[in-house]
Symmetry: C2
Subunit: 205 residues, 2 copies
Amino acid sequence: MKKRKKHQTRPVAESDREFVLAAAAALFRERGYERTTVKEIAEACDMLPGSLHYRYPSKESLLVDLMRLALEQASSALARATVGVSDPVEQLRRGINAHLDLLVDGSDMVYVLLFEWRSLRGEARQEMIDLRDRYERLWAAMLQSLASQGIIRADVDLNLLRLFGLGGLNWVATWFDKKGRYSLEDIGNFVWQLIRDAVINQADR
Amino acid sequence: MKKRKKHQTRPVAESDREFVLAAAAALFRERGYERTTVKEIAEACDMLPGSLHYRYPSKESLLVDLMRLALEQASSALARATVGVSDPVEQLRRGINAHLDLLVDGSDMVYVLLFEWRSLRGEARQEMIDLRDRYERLWAAMLQSLASQGIIRADVDLNLLRLFGLGGLNWVATWFDKKGRYSLEDIGNFVWQLIRDAVINQADR
DNA sequence: GTCTATACTCTGATAGAC
DNA sequence: GTCTATCAGAGTATAGAC
């Protein structure tokens, strides 16, 4: 790979794969997968389409690999945010903030994983769904743990709570405006209070 | 326009415009805007690309017109669901169900309005954002009315409530499965109870 | 591993007869 | 208004030298 002139130099610890995928993710996020050409991706990496093809046999395979990395990022971000936090309610609060941060501000790949699923068909689509499910299972486990400790009211459907909650958080990426009236922290706090007031037992708040 | 053979006959009251846009919306929903060709749209209407071009000078202009119609559908569905309902809390409940129903089961156009916004650029994009804002304002008014009657707790940020709530509802369209364990009614009830428990004053539940 | 050059396909849009 | 025919451009992917 040639030295990159116009772009940030690549942190030495990062692999070539991550560099390429990060560049692609930024383009996919801004322009969408279909409207981004392989030529543009190659340019963003200071290489030519042929070199990109050496790494990935097709544009679609690049997207799939990008989504694999996105899952790793999301999972480890969630783990980092909650590890070592003993209070399970606080764990939930931090998880919400971590998800929001990563999606809106932290990782173009996670954004792409969540918003470009319609670009994949057949087998690749199924793999992407499996990736998402693995991330959702982390959330399911967290909620389940809260419920079995009696912190979440027993009559709350945990699946629907997870689906609706993450859905609302994901959608933030469609309207969030850095210069807008709400910071990510404002939004995280709001969601946290809403969930707390709706499903957490009084004694545990 | 030729008689349609393979497709449902068009209800006489519906305009030609609506027929074409409905066909396009179904394709856009299933395959996405970029992956749908004008040829496919024309075929779905039993015409040829040339005839479609007589109606819309470009593929993009068709999408914009589709979104205009989607806004009308969404607005009137919301109005229909809440008109004549005197209890404002019940209005909110019905609004939630109406939005869910329309998006997931009722109108491909509304789905397209919400999920294909990234396909538009520049001026067309701005018009689409304006269309969405007009729909959101209907919700804002409903929530504002509830708040000024003291039904929604005074400390709740109505903008964030609307954005997060509609976001969670919109996201349902990405995971809902007709054969799954949850019916639209289940989901509507869940969301309604969540919002109620979180922000509606005890006395008004 | 990277480059140059190109093959092949598909697409949106147009022109003009009827 | 609808048709036939076609264009110009873009896009992915490939081949093969270096």
